[in-house]
Symmetry: D2
Subunit: 388 residues, 4 copies
């Protein structure tokens, strides 16, 4: 049996990057509901993100999105973040909100549109130099809505050309992570719809290109932990976008829809070396808090990942291997389930206190008065959202 | 063999209601792209809808959406429509865009919110008296995003109470049609997610309540034509919202994603009496033209329904029955497929001309200069969309 | 906070019916693997089932399947079961393995086939009188593989007629439960594919007819707990067939694929009165142990249901209601999750011991030598399976 | 506009390999129904397959399955086939029906099991030398049913080792095609579940390894034509297993469930060079005729592929490209749909007659008396099926 004390030291290095946009408003095509206290600037988003780290010690970095987080002085933004105890992380590009991208961006049939989209990424790389970010994350909304609308095959070639130019502009310590998504906003075909397509492109690009796995971007029934195991084996798992879903890309809080799936994913991460000290895998959230409190939502998310990582680390791998080798189907399954059903919350609370963190980060945050303060202070202005 | 001449007269009574909102802008949560010439007022939407009817003879009614189509004088709006050769149709309520409905409307746990939502429907019934509309269509966005957020069971009871009050306010000639939807915008549970739930409610309400079947609102793999057959058998199929989808509720042009499915649906409609002269079934479109031309998109849609209805009518039902009775699996299937694979377009073109309609409605519309005219004329103002 | 001591007495009345066929061989269309010790007779299946009850106290009844469990003297079979501490339960009919049913049974277009299928059910009712069974469970494989093969609408009418004759033959204390299934073995349309269809039929039949919900028989993404809540509200939830699945009707051990889903289902059962003392809901397993040990598989299954029922009972419903009323999305969700994440296993082990049951039923069974004994004893003969 | 006369010559080279097992019995886990006239030997299967070729000219090769088609003298079997106007094609291995493969074959954790499975493939390669077959097709049933049962990561490594040994034994003109499948018979994880996994393996193996795409082996909603385009672009599309499905791997007649999907797939084949004279792509059927006539089922299948290939060839690619370049969404779609809706059957019938084939191959076969003859002749013996 593996005990909590055996794994506590491994929990210390856990770090989950927060998306700046999780603190802004989001919604569905039907409605974006506002929330009192929502940030109006990149700085206010970072300030909220810093709260999550302050109460959990789990979130030392904030991913930014260009142009939503565009500022004049990125060095100043980074310095602001550092003063709050966090750093800037992955830079996310945006090729879906400009009128020019109506029919595609890096995969567009129009050379001028591809040029514009490539230049946007070159600008992002520039920003990365100023923010000290390692990763450029590319998620493409590119695709078509009707059969025949675009030439699927040519678009792959155009995409490959565009990615090549971006890749070649990366600095020595920088990486490109290419996200895939099953569908939405395109409804017939998507240019990077699955891990195989991302893998084919990043393999062609070179050693600084990796795949980003968003847990909500798969067809119904897909075994995601298999993909995790496979990409780790192939050396191309660059990062996670954590969230959860019941249906499509719901962007719900990670672990809220299927906690056992999150456990299985994290078990394969651990099993495949993705949680090792020198692992190339970055862990990020990518979520929408459409109707729930945003800061508490982010707190809940990083705690879910932490709790499930603890369970994954608790798996008695020696015993599991023995049962697997004996083809003891139910015995092997029981060893996995035993870790999953272990209630790690009391141990984690005690461990947090030993590290001068609140035993219950959410309760501590709620008691702090921060939420009331921002509701009062952020009265005017325009709340941040996907549009700005 | 059934010949086109055998079915031509049946095509004459085909009528497909157009949604006013199909002429306004729409999009995804990522972006709403605008289009030159988009209507800015209910009148301009109706004018565009009238074009579809003028070129096809298929779309004599325009469904309106409250409050998107709110006007001071509905009698005047109707008169305006009549002058353009169309009439106002189904009134669609909206309980998803007011801040009050963040956690539900007719199924909300808050009595004051339910009151507001019921009152909105009573207002819609008032409008129906002025517009001469028969049907009040209720599609609810109600649901929850996280397990535990709401009490699923109580919400059904609240919904039943709300519907009862609305139903009791209907005039003698008015009907309530209750639409169901698998998911979106709610991501954990939806209060009216399937035909069974709609059926249970409309059965409890009484003879003026029916189910509305939106072809895009089902789980992956659902056999929709079975539901059509079943609801017709149970006497509770009130109306269709036609569109198509590859994934979720994509709201693509009807018949564009799976034409054979549309054929099977229309075959069951014909088979079950839903296309009979006195059928209670209303045929409507409910689509989004996010990136394609809107008027042409609506033309394409009604023509798709017409062409597929012709194919469904061409099924040699006597021969089919004989093959079915003989358990001749492939023989029966071949009879159905023979109608599906028949190219009805030349016969339909000739038939249209015999009725003083253009053989190719889309080409005729494109040649008319209408699109260029509205692009020029509708220069200022705010384009209509889901938000207004 | 609800404590285990608060709910212990409610656990006492838990009873989960075992399917006799779970102890026989099963497999996929590709292969049925045998297992040493597999029963060869109904008596041996019952003996194995009695082991599950002996070690858990959870499984006092064994459901039988006709003709797989056909015997000359059902009173003797019942007496045999009683001597082993269990009783006979639900009688399951079989209308899918006779050559006559190639194209349907109760929904067949051939009157003689329907006659044969109805007679089979009348025979089952006769057997129920001898076994003292309350429930006749009807799962139909009826459907078609190709569009056009059968007349969907007529088949519903034939089905209704067939069910009527069976229903009318029920004794005063007997019930008919009609199971639905999304697909398989029919691949185009299934005659009872969803809860709405079952509900429409059982409502038409009368008060002794109910719906049976098999947890593996839904479209991808279906919210099953919603259906549970709805059927309980409508008074028509008759029984559960528990199992789990990742893809189609995998028939895996209940709770093994998505334990959180099982929790949510059982929470709605408790919430809706389905676990009350006088509840009409019967709880059964319907599983296949294709490659794993069968008796241990059944032990694991009833323990999974017990553990998850305990968690569902632990939900602090007063606090939950308060959070729901306050629209505290994350607070309400946290209350539910708190119960789910509670490790009830130590409390259950102690409680079992207090009731003179082994703390760890699986370990106790394994130590008993029963498995080794049946492997040795059941050397010759034909192992039971779906074919016999 | 492309005319039929423009494409007729391209149709001449169409060749679709038939699976010998399509002529034997098949079914579901619930029941395998027999059919009068079903072959009892490999020779009888080949004789039936030769009928399909005789009436259509489309099916010059018969794929065989080892051990189902094991004979003492493969040269004699080939000679027998040649005398009937056909040849032997792809050799399909079987690693799912031996007791040894209960927990896996090439991916098994047991070295002795992998040895056995590798040796089976080496035997298949030997047979290929005798039959003159080019392709060794590997579809693996390998996977697990419960989380934890096997080590997903290690199994990939074992699989890679096993494939390496098989690949290295291939002759210069031989190829290995690795099929992937979403699920079934394994219900938790499958060792080759998606095209990405197959692609990673065949890329690692070398230039004689390709991916086999079975049209029924994908998650719900998967855009299969995208995968076709991608694999063609990557140079790794080796072969198709054609069939169709509404739900899982239904193995229905190709084109029967979603004819438009088949059209889109074949359009991408044509577009990507997969139908070119020197294309490496082999076209095969892999179907089950559970309840329908088997020979007619195969006739219907090859005709469906032929008819849809004709439609795909009829697409006006120059006009399509122009519309695509103009971002004319509906115009481009209309060009594609125009070809799909074209009724090619009369032209094909005339073209067949010009080549001394019956205009209506199914009617001609039915009139031939062959079916009645085999029903009479094949009275005794054991009908072929998956088990033998």
């Amino acid at each position: 049996m593996v005990q909590f004390s055996d794994i506590a030291s491994e929990l210390e290095r856990q770090a989950i990057e927060l998306p700046s946009w999780a603190f802004g408003n989001s919604g569905t095509r039907f409605r974006v509901f506002g929330t009192p206290g929502t940030p109006r600037t990149p700085e206010e988003k970072i300030a909220d993100a810093a709260q999550v780290n302050a109460y959990t010690g789990l979130a030392p970095k904030v991913a930014i999105h260009i142009p939503w987080d565009k500022v004049d002085d990125y060095a100043a933004l980074r310095s602001y973040a550092n003063d709050l105890g966090v750093d800037l992380g992955t830079v996310n590009s945006n090729t879906f909100q400009d009128e020019a991208y109506k029919f595609g961006s890096l995969s567009s049939g129009e050379a001028s549109v591809r040029r514009k989209a490539i230049d946007h990424h070159l600008e992002c790389i520039e920003i990365m130099h100023q923010t000290g970010s390692r990763d450029l994350k590319i998620w493409l909304a590119d695709g078509t809505n009707y059969p025949g609308q675009g030439d699927i095959r040519s678009r792959q070639d155009w995409l490959a050309e565009s990615l090549r130019e971006i890749y070649d502009a990366l600095g020595d310590e920088q990486r490109l992570v290419l996200e895939y998504k099953f569908f939405e906003p395109a409804f017939y075909h998507t240019d990077v719809p699955d891990w195989g397509t991302s893998y084919a492109h990043v393999t062609a690009l070179g050693p600084k290109a990796f795949t980003c796995l968003d847990t909500g971007h798969h067809a119904p029934g897909t075994n995601i932990e298999f993909i995790v195991a496979q990409l780790l084996r192939l050396g191309k798992l660059g990062s996670f976008d954590f969230n959860s879903r019941f249906y499509a890309d719901d962007d719900l809080i990670v672990g809220s829809a299927d906690p056992f799936q999150l456990f299985r994913i994290l078990y394969e991460v651990v099993r495949g070396g993705g949680y090792d000290v020198d692992s190339p895998v970055a862990f990020m959230l990518d979520q929408c808090h459409n109707i729930e409190e945003k800061i508490v939502g982010q707190l809940r998310s990083v705690l879910n990942v932490q709790e499930m990582t603890a369970r994954a680390l608790l798996v008695d791998r020696a015993a599991l291997l023995e049962a697997q080798n004996a083809n003891d189907v139910l015995g092997a399954n029981a060893i996995l389930m035993d870790a999953f059903y272990t209630d790690v919350r009391p141990d984690l609370a005690a461990w947090r206190e030993s590290r001068e963190l609140p035993a219950d980060p959410i309760a501590a945050f709620k008691a702090s008065g921060y939420q009331e303060k921002i509701v009062a202070e952020r009265a005017g202005g325009v709340q941040a959202g996907w549009g700005a």
